[in-house]
């Protein structure tokens, strides 16, 4: 099953990267850009009986490895194979 995991910094945690990109966008003339935040998107395949099981395993993976839950939140999307 195709799984997408989005990992983003928690609210309130400084995102220096986002800030630098925002000011670069603005100096390139994109003054309409605001509040840029940069996160990760991990895509993977998980062999599982069904979507809910895949979701469960992905959550475990996030907790144990993929996300740094001290400063990051994660969300999981399982592509419905049907």
């Amino acid at each position: 099953m195709e799984v997408k995991i989005n990992i983003s910094l928690k609210q309130g945690v400084l995102d220096p990267q986002g800030r630098a990109v925002e000011s670069a966008l603005i100096s390139l003339g994109y003054s309409e850009a605001n509040n840029v935040r940069i996160g990760k998107q991990i895509t993977l395949e998980i062999e599982a009986e069904d979507a809910s099981r895949a979701q469960q395993r992905a959550a475990r993976m996030c907790e144990t490895l993929l996300a740094n839950t001290v400063i990051e939140d994660y969300s999981i999307e399982v592509a419905d194979p049907s």
Binding site: P16, Q17, A20, V21, A24, S27, L28, I38
Partner: protein, 228 residues
């Protein structure tokens, strides 16, 4: 010999490069700030190492869009010589002046140590023409993203045109070596006209006088001679 070193916020080898060039030429190169869109004509532009704009987004990406880079591209398009070291190499790739890209080191860790480089015998560059073909140099590296990657046809083109300048190579002291996973052990490449050189190792950290090697001095001297 007029040399300019571009300084971006986060550059941190600009002074080292200035010292190295001054040691060789006896003349202090100009430091040019990234916000300057005008530049006095020079013979060689150097993009130094460091973490321009924190290396945020992708290394070299934000610097490649700085005003001074326009002036550098102008200079290059007129056949001017350019040297990019480490972060400078990354910036050159982001501008498109050189093909390919540098991705995370295979082992995902920053690596700082000496490596052995082999000057490719079939290179086609006036910048390196005073060095013996096949010359081997010991020069330190220090980077997190030095893993050279190019699409197949770009690689093919580099090989065909003699645009590969240096490869990492084995040495008695360090053993077989590819410190970052670079495709074909590539450590430095040239533009099609041979006048733009990008490389990961830091020649300015190997100019003798307390450094473990003086091969960087040899290389920089060759480049400065090649430009003139």
């Amino acid at each position: 010999m007029r040399v300019a070193i571009l300084v971006f916020p986060g550059s941190n080898c600009d002074r080292d490069m200035m010292v190295a060039v001054e040691t060789i030429t006896g003349r202090r190169p100009a430091l040019v700030w990234h916000k300057d869109s005008q530049m006095d004509p020079v013979d060689l532009i150097i993009l130094p190492g460091g973490f321009s704009f924190g290396d945020y987004l992708r290394c070299g990406a934000l610097a490649a869009r700085a005003p001074v880079v326009e002036a550098m591209l102008d200079h290059a398009s007129r056949g001017g010589a350019v040297l990019g070291v480490c972060n400078g190499f990354q910036i050159l790739l982001e501008t498109g002046l050189l093909p390919g890209t540098l991705i995370r080191n295979e082992r995902l860790k920053f690596v700082c140590r000496s490596v052995n480089l082999q000057l490719q015998p079939d290179h086609d560059s006036p910048l390196l023409s005073t060095l013996d073909p096949g010359h081997s140099l010991t020069i330190p590296i220090a980077h997190n993203e030095g893993n050279y990657f190019a699409q197949k046809d770009d690689l093919e083109m580099l090989k065909q045109n003699g645009q590969i300048a240096f490869k990492y190579t084995a040495s008695p002291a360090f053993g077989p070596d590819n410190p970052n996973g670079a495709t074909d052990d590539i450590a430095g490449i040239l533009s099609a006209n041979g006048r733009v050189l990008g490389m990961m190792p830091h020649p300015e950290r190997a100019i003798g006088n307390g450094h473990p090697s003086s091969d960087g001095k040899l290389l920089l001297r060759a480049i400065l001679q090649g430009v003139a």
